[in-house]
Symmetry: C3
Subunit: 498 residues, 3 copies
């Protein structure tokens, strides 16, 4: 095997020369980026090749800015002069706003930072950053980490556990477990904890040590204080819009039984059309033409992308505030409810002073949730996309059923919760942490998995197998029966003893 | 944003002119369809673009009828003269047999109906309609809705539920829930309940109100009395044979643990070949050439499509009576059994006078099921497809195992059912509705999910992971153990009290 | 329908002439293979067409051997002279080493054997055969069939079952069930049990009867005594490297909750990139160039394939000893542990004299497992592939979390096992077979499904939804709570009776 450890500098200069012409026609590569590529082409050939295929490597910000409005992929009113005329390469992002980043360090004479943040990207994509800031996802870290009730659920899942005195005692999960588990999607809080020296292929070098890294969670707390990771969906280092538009990207965090969005989609008619016909579709075009570029919606069509018809008339506008068209929050603790007003949900208080959008009896925390007018407005926005292919009688029929499913699934959760309350009142379980005992967990599955799944199936798929047998009503009704059965058994044990 | 509400008529005429040339070369668009397109291109650009890509838009019925027999996609002996020479557009389907459809209404001076039915499609595709009528799927609505035992299962799943007096009381699910859940796949019963006036982009218009709409379930009861929805598999408005031939289409209704056909397929060698190699396959050709057009079967290859070899010799004939080659029904209540004779299964009566193909003790309702000769005939038909790639020793080995799995899985269900009967006899559960108590549900999972999954795995995949750990024998054996455990606990409680 | 039973010999000669020119340009077809094709093109058109698309049909071994080392797909130092100059067709494989195969029989005057084995393939691919022999997979049959503890688990899953005297009695599964279930992936033991005469399309012919056939399990015991089936991954009769490199191939055996590798991959960032971008990738090239041919790893990239950078520098070497880079075995009975030294795991003995790599209390059977140095060596090999796209801070962060997850998941299993031990000690369950009672099965799910899933999620996906809610920590913690709950109920029943 040829050794990959090379006499670094020699090699770098050779490559340097070889690389240049490849992309130079379209967007010249800056000197700083050339220097980066000189070594990293050898050390990390995969990401470098990836970047060379990217739009960032081939179109200058100036050219991107000059496009017609509908075709424009950069939204900043003005792009800094020094960035306008070169490809958006290593240096352009990793050296941007260095003074704002706690992980900026000297790397072979260049100041760079490891973690590129939404505020860096905002240099060209400011509107998207601004919208995303108002998107619930951007607050995913704090919405979980600061919510006292959610923390009890998290603790009951992550452990560590100890079985003692006929019950399970919960410890505190370490940071590695938390980063690996919940915060993999919710986003970690990054922190520079020191500097380390590492032996590299290019010799001994110093690097910052970053706690919580690597992470591409949607609510990552970055080293410049900004929230989110554009790379959660716009995967490095190609950043292909094609990828963000495909449902596999959303699947990374939306596939488990708690938010089985991808599974529901892929069992739906829309998902079916996508899987069967996508080979002939166009995922790169901006704007994205319904019927012509694609024949059925992906997640992005309904929630994010700028969609037009063949005459260029806008069907739906681009938005990175992805709850723009979402009237209901289908999951949460523990009922479906009107969407929260603020992306920061930690301030919500229900009538029982819990930081939850509904009380355990189902009463919504109205003050913190959008009202019926705003719900209607968002629904109308969503339906505008539907109308590209469906008429009003179809759309109304769909929504009638969806509304009914929200009511029915909430009612089923209420029955389960009523039984759980009986169990708590009888002293058969301890509500101090309502999630850490066997029967509490069975109840939790009801709303966390089956209530949610039923609703997602109703909202996206228009019903079917998923909402009935594959983690839907079959399982929800079984939870209710199991709660009743457990209570009956427990009572029988007590009674027989009398 | 450009407003999509337009001064409708003006716009329509402009478009009208623009659209025509696009498709006129191949199949002229009728005047009536042109009128439809004039507006709907603006209002529903997605489906119109979809249709323009369809065979219906580009080939006249006359040209389709003139093809060589094996290449022919229309089966009617004679196509009505007025339809022969134009593209099969909006008007050709939505204005067909108007007097038969309860939803026919005046729409801008044209009589149209919303719901196109198999009997409409039969105008050109009569053989397929006739075959489908004898396919169990076409009776999927009634087979569920009219079967008293299945209705108990449906009720226990859909609710609504009330917990009172230490047990779960079942209400009656409303029509919206039923349409959203079971009948999403089984098909709703459509009914015109009135006329409504809606404000549309083209001004105020009247439309029929259709109960049960939208729906594309395989057993939909249509407004002309026909059963089924061709669009369940031949998705509107492109109706691509490519899509019907891909397994994602079947997945829509066959993915849950009750009929995990897609999951089993996608974990099988056949599914593996499909996923890995399909990019180079040809899904449009009629007839479909084994080895050349595709290298491994999709669902359609074994159950529906006309397959030939490279010399045009027929390997297997097209059939829309999809149980043509199916000897066994692998699911049902509660055992695998010989396939029912009639697509209408409501008339079946077992020895205990239940409308079920087997009794709870496993005895088949022989009179209503095909006999061993017919089973052998169907198996031989299926094996004809297998033989395109496998020799007899392979095929026989496969079938030996499959037969064994049917026997073994039925035996396991019998053990579980024996335990359930003990529980009923002891009075620990109430068999009035055998599906609405916790322990009854555990038993139901046994045959509804795990028995089925094991059999599908044996029939399609040739065994493996799916039939063992992913909802197969592991879970089936656990059901048996759980039933025993529950019974033991219950007895212990009773006994200790003595 | 045209009958496929033809006057065989006539037809064969006609085809014979027609076939020859198709492939003759590149690799002449041997006379023997021509004779095979003469009939089998008619009888099994699918596999013949498949083979004609294969590399075996178009490149001679001599030409394959003459390629530059990195591009070479045959590894034998010398290829037998008689095989060098023709395509690798039917006869070249099915007539090879006939004297070694128990299923060799006379077939129309030619001696052939049905089952081609790794030792046949080794004629050209000797290095791969040698490596695979040292791969744990090659011993998959015996590692399950000979291990007394695993046999108890197998028996408790496969049955048959009898419920009698308040407990479940296990019988012995028949060979068909075993072949269909566990040994579908683990590989059956093939045995010739006789000769049968069959009526075929070419008249009456004799064939060997092979017990355990068909099977493509990774540890199949072949009729020449060799172990394994190259066709498990290199699917007949195209043997496309493209297929072996795609994750769907691994999915066949690695998708259930016991080894949910495919599911974890497909929900990971790597799987996301693969699904979204693969249409533009190159899966046929040897060597395989990172960044250029593919942009994210499939299973093969990390575990098997020869990967180079754009300058042809080797990133990772080809190996069919797939545990070369695997430091930990993430599943087993019942903890994660250092990888076994020998591919034959039947000789392992833990401190309690069980044939298991760890004791039930977690103590590893050190003597039979690789040491920390070897683990470090394997980890370093694996990281070499990671480095093609990730820097050391990323890689180290990933591995820190992975190591932590191994520890934490083992600790959770230990808590569950502690509770199970209490139950055994209290006499509430019988440890003779530790897998055949309801509560034992609940415990088994803990380590067999949820411990495993959590670890796979950590190792491949870098965490996320799968390791938390989709068969991960949520379910693992629930197992612990359920064990405690069951024990509490049981104690309460006993106590109340006192």
């Amino acid at each position: 095997m040829v050794l990959r450890t090379v006499s670094a500098l020699m090699f770098c200069f050779v490559l340097f020369a070889a690389i240049l012409p490849a992309a130079a026609d379209e967007a010249p590569i800056s000197e700083a980026t050339e220097e980066c590529l000189g070594c990293h082409t050898t050390f990390h050939p995969g990401i470098v090749a990836d970047w060379f295929k990217s739009r960032h490597a081939t179109v200058t910000p100036a050219a991107a800015r000059a496009k017609d409005e509908l075709e424009r992929r950069v939204s900043a009113a003005e792009i800094p002069e020094e960035l306008r005329a070169t490809a958006v390469g290593c240096a352009e992002c990793h050296m941007l706003r260095n003074d704002q980043h706690a992980d900026t360090f000297d790397h072979n004479g260049m100041d760079i930072h490891v973690v590129v943040s939404p505020d860096d990207c905002a240099t060209c994509h400011s509107v998207e950053r601004d919208q995303y800031r108002q998107n619930t996802m951007s607050h995913a870290h704090g919405n979980l980490a600061i919510n006292a009730v959610y923390q009890k659920l998290e603790q009951s899942i992550l452990g560590p556990f100890e079985a003692r005195d006929s019950r399970i005692h919960l410890g505190t999960a370490n940071d590695l477990t938390r980063a690996e588990a919940c915060y993999s999607c919710h986003g970690t809080r990054l922190r520079v904890t020191g500097i380390e020296t590492r032996e590299t292929d290019a010799g001994e070098l110093e690097f910052p040590v970053i706690d919580g890294w690597p992470n591409q969670g949607v609510g990552r707390i970055n080293l410049d204080g900004s929230k989110g990771a554009c790379t959660a969906c716009h995967t490095r280092h190609r950043f292909a819009i094609e990828m963000a538009r495909k449902p596999h990207t959303c699947k990374q965090c939306h596939v488990g039984p708690d938010v089985p969005v991808y599974k529901v989609y892929s069992a739906s008619k829309h998902g079916n059309i996508y899987e069967a016909m996508k080979a002939g579709w166009q995922f790169e075009n901006v704007p994205w033409t319904v019927g012509q570029d694609f024949e059925a919606p992906t997640c992005a069509v309904c929630h994010v992308s700028l969609v037009v018809d063949e005459d260029g008339v806008v069907v739906s506008e681009r938005s990175h505030r992805m709850n723009d068209r979402i009237a209901w929050r289908q999951f949460g603790l523990i009922y479906a409810h009107a969407h929260p007003k603020s992306p920061d949900t930690t301030k919500i208080q229900n009538k029982d002073n819990q930081p939850l959008p509904t009380a355990f009896d189902g009463t919504p925390a109205h003050d913190f949730l959008i009202d019926a007018n705003e719900q209607a407005r968002r629904t109308a926005l969503m339906q505008q996309t539907c109308r590209a292919c469906h008429d009003a009688s179809w759309i109304n029929g769909h929504w009638q059923r969806y509304d009914n499913t929200l009511r029915q699934s909430n009612a089923a959760v209420a029955v389960a919760t009523g039984l759980m309350s009986e169990i708590w009142q009888a002293g058969y379980a301890d509500p101090t942490n309502p999630f850490d005992e066997s029967i509490e967990r069975r109840w939790s599955e009801g709303w966390l998995f089956y209530g949610n799944s039923t609703r997602f199936s109703a909202s996206m798929a228009g019903g079917g197998d998923y909402g009935v047998f594959a983690n839907g009503r079959f399982q929800m009704s079984q939870v209710i029966m199991d709660l009743q059965d457990w209570l009956n058994q427990r009572r029988a044990i007590e009674k027989k003893a009398e």
